[in-house]
């Protein structure tokens, strides 16, 4: 548990630092794939980017300035291209986190935030793989220059969240662009529709629970079966699981539509009958079966002063 907490704290910290808490809602609308690609290509390129020579830390300079970055002369530490990538990464990171937090309960992280996750993945891919202009790679300077490896850490935390929630099962990958997602799968949409049907039905009979149990049974059962099928196919993501859990909770706990325990008498009767059988069996075998007797055989022994009688005498 402990490492996870630290990670979440880091996420929150960085979000706060970079952007402040912005109210963000679903960002699917304002960030679409082509737009992102365009944005990427427009990154200004500094052709004279110099590769940092050595990661030597210079403590003397830090005394003169509070801004650590500015203290390194000639942009030795990081190229302009990379700075821009880093900035972009920060923005998209914030967008994604801003999207996720409001979708935490009820869980809608997959359906709401797949686009921003895709764009985050794309920029991270750029950082880690792509060669920038002048064959400059930001991989070394951004990702593994220091012990902390903050960018890597931030991204891997979000990636882990994405993987735990198995959102990949509910969204379709964009075939043309790596790391980008097109939209929800048809299975997911179909499930959402079925779910909506059930929920509308629930709403309709909200006042009368017994009526609700009767009327909505079919839609609810269909929904349950659909869920079971998807479970077998392995097309469930956290959104669907959570939605189903909530619906089941409503059905069973709130509306009390579970099966009642009403056959107690027959079950007890059959059980008693079964339990009675062995008693009869043992009694009858005790009374009617002839008891097995063993025939004793007297071994030949040399008679002597200390015979069996003496043993008994000695120890009685």
């Amino acid at each position: 548990m402990a490492p996870r907490n630290v990670n979440l704290f880091l996420v929150a910290l960085v979000v706060g630092l970079l952007n402040g808490w912005a109210s963000a809602s679903s960002d699917t609308a304002n960030l679409t794939a082509p737009e992102l690609v365009g944005e990427m290509t427009q990154i200004p390129v500094s052709s004279h980017a110099v590769v940092a020579e050595s990661p030597v830390f210079k403590p003397a300079e830090s005394f003169f300035s509070l801004n650590l970055l500015a203290a390194f002369p000639d942009d030795l530490e990081i190229s302009e291209y990379c700075t821009q990538l880093l900035h972009l990464f920060g923005q998209r990171y914030v967008t994604y986190v801003n999207c996720m937090v409001p979708s935490a309960r009820p869980v809608k992280v997959c359906q709401n935030c797949f686009a921003s996750y895709g764009s985050l993945g794309a920029i991270y891919h750029n950082i880690s793989n792509e060669m920038g202009p002048g064959n400059v790679s930001c991989k070394d300077s951004l990702l593994r220059k220091d012990r902390l490896m903050l960018v890597f850490l931030l991204y891997s935390n979000l990636k882990e969240i994405w993987e735990i929630s198995v959102c990949d099962r509910c969204v379709i990958k964009d075939k043309t662009q790596d790391y980008l997602y097109k939209g929800l799968t048809t299975d997911t949409l179909y499930f959402m529709e079925a779910l909506n049907q059930s929920l509308t039905c629930f709403e309709k009979f909200l006042g009368n629970h017994s009526e609700l149990c009767k009327q909505c049974k079919i839609t609810y059962r269909d929904l349950n079966e659909l869920y079971g099928r998807m479970d077998k196919n392995g097309t469930l993501c956290i959104d669907i699981e959570d939605a189903m859990n909530v619906t089941r909770g409503l059905w069973s706990k709130k509306f009390n539509c579970s099966f009642p325990r009403e056959e107690t008498v027959p079950v007890i009767a059959v059980s008693c009958f079964m339990l009675f059988l062995p008693i009869i069996f043992y009694l009858s075998s005790f009374l009617h079966s002839e008891q097995k007797k063993r025939k004793l055989i007297h071994p030949k022994r040399a008679k002597s002063k200390t015979s069996l009688m003496n043993i008994q005498d000695k120890f009685s």
Binding site: K295, I297, P299
Partner: protein, 799 residues
């Protein structure tokens, strides 16, 4: 009266000698008086003339005989020794044939023997692993089908009503499986009943248990255990694995199957009790190793049970067999689970991995563990006492095969009923796990998306239940569920063990222990002030399982190592050892371990480690059987045939004596010959007269004795004509010329030690002039036990 000298019976042939052989019981009520009446005068019929000491207390015989004339019949109890058990011939007979063969054998020959021992051990391991794999897969598939059917049925009837039908369906399915298993055992091979560990213990102790290492026994055992586990009884498949391994070993090492009448003409040298018993210990080890994935535990099990005959090379070979067996099981299971080459499921029961950080233990937990050990010892003693009374009742009253089958079916039906009722009335609902760790989740009246937590314990094969008790998250079971489960399963398991089905007691014990251990852990966490990590219920489940198992079976070293190996966690070595020690100490205060109890109830002449204390005042004179039937070195064939075919005395070993020519004094001991050797001699008609007439007659070799092993023909099947009866037989070449002897004044513990350490079968008692006075056999020693009122003597009985 001179004929009943010792009570070693010759009864391994009861099964096929049929009506002629021992269809007439040796000493039944109708025959006995007649026989005893013959004794005083009718001595002529059996009078052999070479009885060394005929006249000890002749006056006593008349009233003794009248006492003997009324055969006393008593109900079966644990203070009896059965006549049907004999000793193994572990001691080598160093007769002239043996010496000749050894002389003929080259250096290469001995090397080949050594290599073939290794080959045999490898084969034993391989085949045992295969059998374990077969049992595992068969049980999994059958139980899977059964639980699926019942689950679907329950789901259907939960909705529309009529759950009592599901209950009946479950009970009927269980009974049907168990019926097949029980019929197999009761009608085809009763020795395959139970776990087989007591029988193997006896075998390793040196007792020849009839039919225990036959191919038929193996088949019945394997299919019986599949049926009983799939039939939902409170049993495990681990004990039978040990028996199966032993049978495999006994079969493979002989290079032939007498049942199938196939002789592969290999491993002929191993066809004697000495070698066979060594291989059987390897087989038992391989069985343990396959059952628990514990190769070292297997070796130690054999060491613990048969340790008096042990050497370093044998240990090493046994370890080899164990390793091969685990490896084989592993390999084939990995193929079955479609992960070929992944060797991570070592045993039939896999306790799963205990992650070391979440279940670490601390010094202050040691006293708690010891308390748990004491509880385990108490519960184990209770289990054993209940089972002991039940077993006595079964032996006395439920002895007809059809009754036994009925009883097993009833137990199966009641097990299903009780399980169903528990599940039905349980209110403990838990949310479904994300990765479907529950194999057959039953919803019943729980909310959707939840399952009945009682059902994971009852509606499952016992192995899986154990694993879920060890590893499920804290909070998976609520205390009431665990308490009810422990209580019912305790009585079910106690009732089940000893039924006429082949099934073991290991897993039920573990399950009971794991349940109350987990309960203990939960309660401990509830009363401890802070919710610290130390009261992890899984850890306490493990400790509880160990202590319950220790309290029931009372094994020590080997069980510790088996548990440590099965959990794959050496850090638990100390707590498990402490717990097992405490359980054994507490339990032994009340009653013996369950295997020892069953050995006693089967009236086996079992020799413990040492002679009973306070027995030093007993000397060989009181212990021995006397007088002894002896043969002359040059004996008349008719006499031998008469002695051998006398059904009332089933002697197995005969001292060979020489008479001083011309003197009247009793003869002196010069050797010992076994019944089996005499039979082979008679069969090949090795008579002095014939040898003279037929010069080309092939000389008898050791091979001829081995070919007849282990099922020597009964004397009735050997025809000796009237002319031949007058011939003479020279026993010099064939007898063991140097039998072990003791003087009459030797104390019982000394005799005992000699017997136990050398694996003897006959020990001749001689006087100071080397004249035979008596003969000590296993039953003469085993009859002394230390009871509650001091030294007690067991009685010999016909069973």
């Amino acid at each position: 009266m001179a004929n009943i000298t010792k009570k070693v019976s010759w009864s391994s042939r009861t099964d096929e000698s049929g009506a002629t052989g021992e269809g007439t019981p040796l000493l039944n009520g109708s025959e006995q008086p007649q026989y005893s009446r013959q004794l005083p005068g009718g001595g002529s019929l059996f009078h052999i003339g070479r009885l060394s000491t005929v006249d000890l207390e002749e006056e006593m015989t008349s009233d003794e005989d009248s006492l003997r004339g009324r055969p006393k019949e008593i109900p079966h109890n644990e203070k009896l020794l059965s006549l049907k058990y004999e000793s193994l011939d572990y001691d080598n007979s160093e007769n002239q044939l043996f010496l000749e063969e050894e002389r003929r054998m080259s250096f290469i020959g001995f090397r080949c023997l050594e290599i073939s021992r290794w080959v045999v051990c490898g084969l034993i391991g391989f085949l045992t692993g295969l059998i374990a794999c077969f049992i595992d897969i068969a049980v999994e598939e059958l139980a899977g089908v059964k639980y699926q059917v019942v689950k679907q049925n329950i789901e259907k009837f939960t909705e529309v009503g009529g759950l009592s039908i599901s209950l009946i369906l479950w009970a009927v399915l269980n009974s049907a499986f168990v019926m097949v298993g029980a019929i197999l055992v009761a009608f085809f091979e009763p020795i395959a009943a139970g776990s087989g560990i007591p029988q193997i213990k006896c075998y390793l102790n040196g007792v020849k248990v009839p039919r225990v290492v036959r191919l038929k026994t193996l088949l019945v055992k394997v299919f019986g255990v599949i049926c009983s586990v799939a039939g939902g009884l409170a049993v495990g498949k681990e004990g039978p694995m040990i028996h199966s391994g032993a049978v495999v070993a006994a079969g493979v090492s002989q290079g032939r199957s007498t049942s199938l009448k196939r002789d592969f003409k290999i491993f002929e040298y191993f066809r004697r009790d000495t070698e066979k018993r060594d291989f059987v210990s390897a087989g038992a080890a391989a069985g343990v190793s396959a059952a628990f994935g514990a190769p070292v535990g297997g070796v130690l099990f054999s060491l613990e049970e048969g340790a008096s005959f042990w050497n370093q090379m044998l240990t090493w070979r046994i370890f080899f067999a164990s390793m091969i067996s685990t490896f084989t099981l592993n390999f084939f299971l990995s193929i079955y689970h479609e992960k070929p080459g992944d060797l991570s499921s070592p045993g039939l029961i896999n306790f799963g991995r205990f992650e070391s950080d979440s279940v670490a233990y601390n010094l202050y937990e040691i006293p708690i563990f010891i308390v748990m050990g004491a509880i385990g010892g108490l519960l184990g003693a209770l289990f054993n006492v209940l089972n002991y009374w039940l077993t006595i009742f079964r032996i006395r009253y439920v002895h007809r095969p059809c009754l036994q089958v009925m009883e097993a079916m009833l137990v199966a039906a009641v097990t299903a009923t009780v399980s169903f009722a528990m599940i039905y009335f349980s209110n403990d609902c838990q949310p479904l796990g994300p990765d479907h760790s529950e194999e057959y989740p039953l919803q019943l009246f729980c909310a959707d998306g939840e399952y009945n937590s009682m059902a994971t314990a009852f509606f499952n094969t016992p192995e899986r239940s154990v694993r879920s008790l060890f590893h499920n998250q804290p909070g998976t079971y609520n205390p009431l569920t665990l308490g009810m489960f422990t209580l019912t399963y305790f009585f079910l398991a106690c009732w089940t063990y000893g039924l006429t089905v082949s099934a073991g007691v290991f897993i039920p014990s573990l399950l009971i222990g794991a349940a109350w251990g987990r309960l203990f852990g939960i309660l401990l966490a509830a009363i401890s002030p802070s919710d610290s990590i130390w009261a992890d219920p899984g850890k306490y489940a493990l400790i509880g399982a160990a202590s319950q198992l220790g309290g029931i079976v009372r094994m020590t070293l080997s069980l510790t190592v088996i548990m440590v190996e099965a959990t794959g966690n050496v850090t638990y070595g100390l707590p498990i050892m402490l717990v097992l020690m405490t359980a054994k100490i507490v339990g032994d205060y009340f009653v013996e371990g369950i295997y020892d109890l069953h050995i006693k109830l089967q009236s086996v002449p079992f020799l413990h480690w040492e002679a009973p204390a306070t027995s030093h005042w007993l000397t060989a004179r009181e212990v021995m059987s006397s007088p002894v039937t002896c043969f002359n070195r040059l004996e008349k064939v008719g006499t031998i045939v008469d002695v051998l075919s006398n059904t009332s005395t089933n002697h197995n070993g005969f001292p060979v004596v020489v008479h001083m020519t011309g003197s009247d004094e009793p003869a002196k001991l010069c050797g010992l010959i076994l019944r089996s050797q005499l039979i082979v001699l008679l069969k090949h008609k090795v008579f002095v007269e014939l040898a003279r007439s037929r010069l080309t007659h092939r000389k008898l070799q050791l091979k001829d004795f081995r070919d007849a092993y282990p099922r020597f023909p009964p004397i009735q099947s050997i025809h000796v004509s009237q002319d031949e009866r007058e011939c003479m037989m020279d026993l010099t070449e064939f007898m063991n010329p140097t039998p072990y002897t003791v003087p009459q004044e030797t104390s019982l513990p000394r005799v005992f030690k000699l017997f136990r350490a050398l694996g003897l079968r006959h020990l001749v008692v001689v006087d100071d002039e080397n004249r035979v006075v008596g003969l000590v056999t296993r039953k003469d020693l085993a009859r002394y036990t230390l009871g509650k009122h001091g030294l007690e003597e067991l009685q010999l009985a016909q069973t």
